[in-house]
C-alpha cells in the first residue's frame, strides 16, 4: 500500500512484518526512529510474539541477538556509527557462528570529531566482518531489502546488514509502497534454524578450533558469501515477480549500455548521479551509472562484466581507508585488473556534506576534460586552502591545538575568527 511515510517508520513496520521474535537494540542517531517504532509495535502487540530487550549497549544488543538466534528465534537489531564499532567483536562472532541475524545500519560518520551525519564509514569499517552488506538507494529499496535480507540470511545461515543512509533516507518522508503481511508471509517462510540450542539434541556451538581446521572454517564462511552472489539475484528476481517491483540484486545499471564513462556509487547518492548523467546525456556525453547494491560479498565478476566496455570509471564513495585510499575504488581496481579502463577514486559526502548535482557535474566535467589524475585520491569539494592553512599551523606551532576547532575558527563558524 502506498503511503507517505518516514524511512525509519517504513523500515520499522516492514521489519515488524518479517515477524522477528526477539529485538534488542540500543539507541543511536540516526537509527533511533526505527527502534522506537518497533518498541511501540511490540508494546501494542501488533508485533507478537516478540520480546524487545532494552539492553545496556550495542555490544549487548548484538550479543542478545546472537543468543536469541542460537535459541531458534528470528532476531533484529539496528545501529549506526559508534554503535556499530562498539559491536565489532560480536559482529565477527555472529558471522563465525553462522547465525542468520539481520541488522539495519543507518549509516553515519565515525568520530572523532563527533559527527552524527551520514557517510558510509561505519559499515565500510566492518567490511571484513563476514556480514553480507546490502546498500539501499531509496526508502522503497530499504523496505524491500529487509524482506529479502531475512530470506538470504536464513537460506544461507549468515548475518546480513541492510545499510541505509542516515537522515538522507532514515528521516526522509516520501512515498513508499509498504508490503502487506500476507505478501511478506508468502515470500518469507517461518524461521527454521540450521543449528540450534535444543535440549533434545544438545550441540556445542562455537567450540575452539586450532590451526588444523581454522582455515577451512574461515574458507567456508567465504564460500557461503560466494553462494550469496547467486542467491541475492535469485531472491531479488523472486521478489520482483511477487511484489511487482525490482529492488536489490547485486548491481543496478543506469544508461550503461554504450557508456564511455561510468560513475560507480552506493546508496542514496545514486539518484542524484542519475540526474547528473541525464543532463550530460542531453548534451551528448555518453555517461552511465553503476550502483553497487551488494558490497559484501563483492560481486567482482558481475562488476567486471558491467564495466567491460567502459573507458573511464569514477568511483564516488562516502568513506575511505585513511592512509590508503578509496575502499570501493580499491575493490573496483581488483575487479577491473587487466582491462583497459582507468579508475578514479573520489571521496565525497563525509560527515554529511551534501553531494550536490553541481559538485558532481563539476567533477565529471574535469574528468571528461582529462583533468583528473587516476593515481591520486580525490575529494569532492575539499577546501584545500583550509587544509593547507592548518598544515602550516601545525608545522610552525608547538601546540597548535585541535585541528577541527582551528579550521572551524578559520571558517568563522565558531569562536572569534582566525588565530
Amino acid at each position: 500500500m502506498l503511503e507517505q511515510i518516514e524511512g525509519s517508520q517504513a523500515v520499522a513496520r516492514t521489519v515488524g512484518l518479517c515477524r522477528p521474535a526477539v529485538i534488542a537494540a540500543y539507541p543511536i542517531s540516526p537509527q533511533t526512529h526505527i527502534v522506537e517504532k518497533l518498541s511501540d509495535l511490540v508494546r501494542t502487540r501488533e508485533l507478537e510474539p516478540c520480546e524487545y530487550l532494552m539492553v545496556e549497549s550495542e555490544f549487548g544488543a548484538l550479543s542478545a541477538c546472537i543468543g536469541a538466534s542460537a535459541a531458534g528465534a528470528r532476531t533484529y537489531t539496528a545501529t549506526s556509527s559508534q554503535g556499530l564499532l562498539f559491536m565489532a567483536e560480536a559482529l565477527f562472532n555472529a558471522s563465525g557462528l553462522g547465525l542468520p541475524l539481520v541488522m539495519t545500519v543507518a549509516n553515519r560518520a565515525i568520530g572523532a570529531p563527533i559527527n552524527i551525519w551520514n557517510d558510509h564509514s561505519d559499515a565500510m569499517s566492518m567490511r571484513d566482518s563476514g556480514w553480507v552488506q546490502l546498500y539501499a538507494e531509496s526508502n522503497q529499496e530499504a523496505v524491500d531489502l529487509h524482506v529479502q535480507a531475512y530470506r538470504l540470511a536464513e537460506s544461507l545461515s549468515l548475518p546480513v546488514m541492510v545499510c541505509m543512509d542516515g537522515f538522507v533516507l532514515t528521516h526522509a518522508v516520501e512515498q513508499v509502497d509498504l508490503p502487506g503481511q500476507d505478501e511478506v508471509d508468502r515470500y518469507l517462510p517461518a524461521f527454521v534454524p540450521q543449528q540450534m540450542l535444543d535440549p533434545d539434541d544438545p550441540v556445542t556451538i562455537g567450540a575452539m578450533v586450532g590451526p588444523e581446521a581454522f582455515t577451512e572454517v574461515k574458507y567456508l564462511m567465504h564460500a557461503k558469501q560466494m553462494q550469496a552472489l547467486d542467491e541475492i539475484p535469485r531472491l531479488a528476481a523472486e521478489f520482483a515477480e511477487q511484489f511487482g517491483r525490482s529492488s536489490g540484486g547485486l548491481l543496478s545499471a543506469y544508461r550503461l549500455d554504450d557508456a564511455d564513462t561510468v560513475v560507480v556509487a552506493l546508496g542514496s547518492m545514486l539518484g542524484t548521479l542519475e540526474d547528473v548523467v541525464d543532463s550530460l546525456r542531453d548534451e551528448g556525453v555518453s555517461v552511465g551509472v553503476l550502483g553497487v547494491k551488494c558490497f559484501r560479498p563483492w560481486p567482482r565478476d558481475e562488476i567486471r562484466e558491467a564495466l567491460s566496455h567502459a573507458r573511464r570509471v569514477v568511483v564516488v564513495e562516502k568513506a575511505f581507508a585513511v592512509g590508503a585510499g578509496g575502499i570501493v575504488g580499491q575493490n573496483l581496481r581488483l575487479a577491473l585488473q587487466d582491462l583497459p579502463v582507468e579508475v578514479y577514486d573520489v571521496v565525497a559526502g563525509l560527515g554529511g556534506r551534501a553531494v550536490t548535482r553541481a559538485s558532481l557535474r563539476r567533477l565529471l566535467d574535469v574528468l571528461l576534460a582529462g583533468g583528473l589524475d587516476p593515481y591520486e585520491l580525490h575529494f569532492l569539494d575539499l577546501d584545500t586552502a583550509l587544509v593547507q592553512r592548518e598544515l602550516e599551523r601545525s608545522r610552525h606551532r608547538v601546540r597548535p591545538g585541535p585541528h577541527a576547532e582551528n579550521m572551524l575558527r578559520d571558517l568563522g563558524v565558531v569562536g572569534s575568527g582566525p588565530l
Binding site: 545496556e56 549487548g60 535440549p199 575452539m208
Partner: protein, 341 residues
C-alpha cells in the same frame, strides 16, 4: 537430553558417603542417573576447582530443570579446556559467547525462549571472575536490571587464569599474579575494596543471589536447585581454587575452599530480593594465615621477616566479614550447609 548412568564418585568435605543415604537424599552427583553435563576427559589442570564447580552446577541445574536447559559460556579457562574441537566435553546445548557478553547472550536466549513459548527450557550462563566482574560487568548489570530469566554463575578463581594468571577485579589484596608481582618494594595486588560482585548483585534486588565454594558441594547443588525455583535474574558466585594460578597443590583445592570460608575471608550466604536470608556459619574458625600459607601467591607474606602488617589487614577484612554477616553467631545450632530442611 538423556540422563546417563555413571559410576559413583565419593565427594565432599564433611559429607559422609552419599551412597549410604536414601536414594532420594543423595546428591545430584551421587545418583546413578545424572546428566554428566561436563564429561571427564577435558583439559583442565589437575585439581581445577572451576571444572569441579561447573560440573556440579550444571548437573544440578539439569536435574532441577529435568534436562531442559541451554547454556552460554564466556571465554576463559572453562571454555577453553572444555571445547577444543572436536572434543567438546559438553552434554548440554552449549554456546560460545565472547569474553564480555555472556550475560547478554543469555538474555537473548531467554528472550527467544519466551517468545517461542518455551519457558520450560531454562538458561544458564557461566563465566570466570574476569568475564563477570570486569569485562562482562556492563552486560551482567543490564541482565540483572531487566531481571531476565537467567541463572548467571561466576566461577571465581580470583584472576585471569586463561591468559596466564593476571590480576582481575576479584583478585584479593596482596596476592601475587603475573602482573601484580611482589617486586620493586610492592606487595602483590594492592589493598582496596575490590569488587564484591555478590553484593553488587544484591544491590540490583534480583530474586536470588548466593555464594558457595567447591568445598561444600551439597550446598552448591542446593543453591543451584534453589536458584532454579526462581524466575528472573539469579546470580551464583562460586569460589573455585586454581592450583596452577595460586601455586597450590592440586590436592589442596577442597581444603583451600573450606579454609576460605572458615577464616571468614569468603562469606557463604544466600540473599533474596536484596536481603540476606541465610549464612553458612563458621564451624571451626581459623586464622587467615592457615589459608594463606599453602598458596605460593602469598609466599611473599611469609618471608623473613614476615609481612605481619599485610596478614593483619587480611585478618581484619575477614573479621569485618564475620561481623557483617554474623558468621560466628550461634555456632552451636549451625547445621550442615545444604542439609537444611
Amino acid at each position: 537430553m538423556a540422563f546417563q548412568e555413571i559410576k559413583l564418585y565419593q565427594v565432599g568435605t564433611f559429607v559422609a558417603g552419599n551412597r549410604l543415604l536414601d536414594p532420594e537424599q543423595r546428591s545430584v552427583q551421587a545418583r546413578m542417573g545424572r546428566s554428566n553435563s561436563l564429561t571427564s576427559g577435558h583439559r583442565a589442570c589437575q585439581g581445577c576447582g572451576e571444572a569441579l564447580g561447573a560440573r556440579y552446577v550444571l548437573d544440578a541445574a539439569m536435574r532441577a530443570t529435568d534436562g531442559k536447559m541451554i547454556a552460554a559460556n564466556s571465554t576463559g579457562c572453562l571454555e577453553v579446556f572444555s571445547t577444543p574441537y572436536p572434543e567438546s566435553s559438553w552434554q548440554v546445548p552449549w554456546l560460545h559467547s565472547l569474553f564480555g557478553n555472556g550475560p547478554a547472550v543469555a538474555s537473548g536466549m531467554a528472550a527467544a525462549l519466551k517468545a517461542q513459548g518455551r519457558e520450560d527450557i531454562r538458561v544458564v550462563a557461566q563465566a570466570g571472575d574476569g568475564g563477570t566482574v570486569d569485562i562482562g560487568f556492563g552486560t551482567l548489570s543490564g541482565m540483572f536490571e531487566r531481571n531476565d530469566d537467567v541463572l548467571f554463575v561466576c566461577y571465581d578463581n580470583q584472576g585471569y587464569m586463561n591468559t596466564g594468571v593476571q590480576r582481575s577485579g576479584a583478585t584479593p589484596p596482596a596476592a601475587r599474579t603475573a602482573n601484580t608481582k611482589p617486586v620493586g618494594g610492592t606487595t602483590g595486588n594492592v589493598f582496596g575494596q575490590g569488587k564484591n560482585l555478590p553484593q553488587i548483585a544484591m544491590a540490583h534486588e534480583i530474586p536470588y543471589v548466593a555464594t558457595a565454594t567447591v568445598a561444600e558441594l551439597r550446598d552448591l547443588e542446593h543453591k543451584v536447585e534453589r536458584a532454579m525455583e526462581f524466575r528472573g535474574a539469579r546470580y551464583l558466585h562460586v569460589y573455585v581454587p586454581c592450583p596452577l594460578g595460586w601455586g597450590a597443590a592440586p590436592a589442596d583445592t577442597i581444603r583451600l575452599a573450606r579454609l576460605v570460608k572458615e577464616t571468614g575471608i569468603f562469606p557463604v550466604f544466600e540473599a533474596e530480593h536484596g536481603v540476606v536470608t541465610e549464612v553458612s556459619r563458621i564451624r571451626h574458625q581459623v586464622p587467615v594465615e592457615d589459608y594463606l600459607r599453602p598458596q605460593r601467591r602469598y609466599a611473599h607474606l611469609f618471608g623473613d621477616p614476615p609481612r605481619r602488617d599485610l596478614i593483619d589487614r587480611i585478618q581484619a577484612g575477614a573479621d569485618r566479614n564475620i561481623a557483617r554477616f554474623g558468621l560466628l553467631d550461634d555456632p552451636d545450632t549451625s547445621d550442615l550447609p545444604g542439609a537444611r530442611p
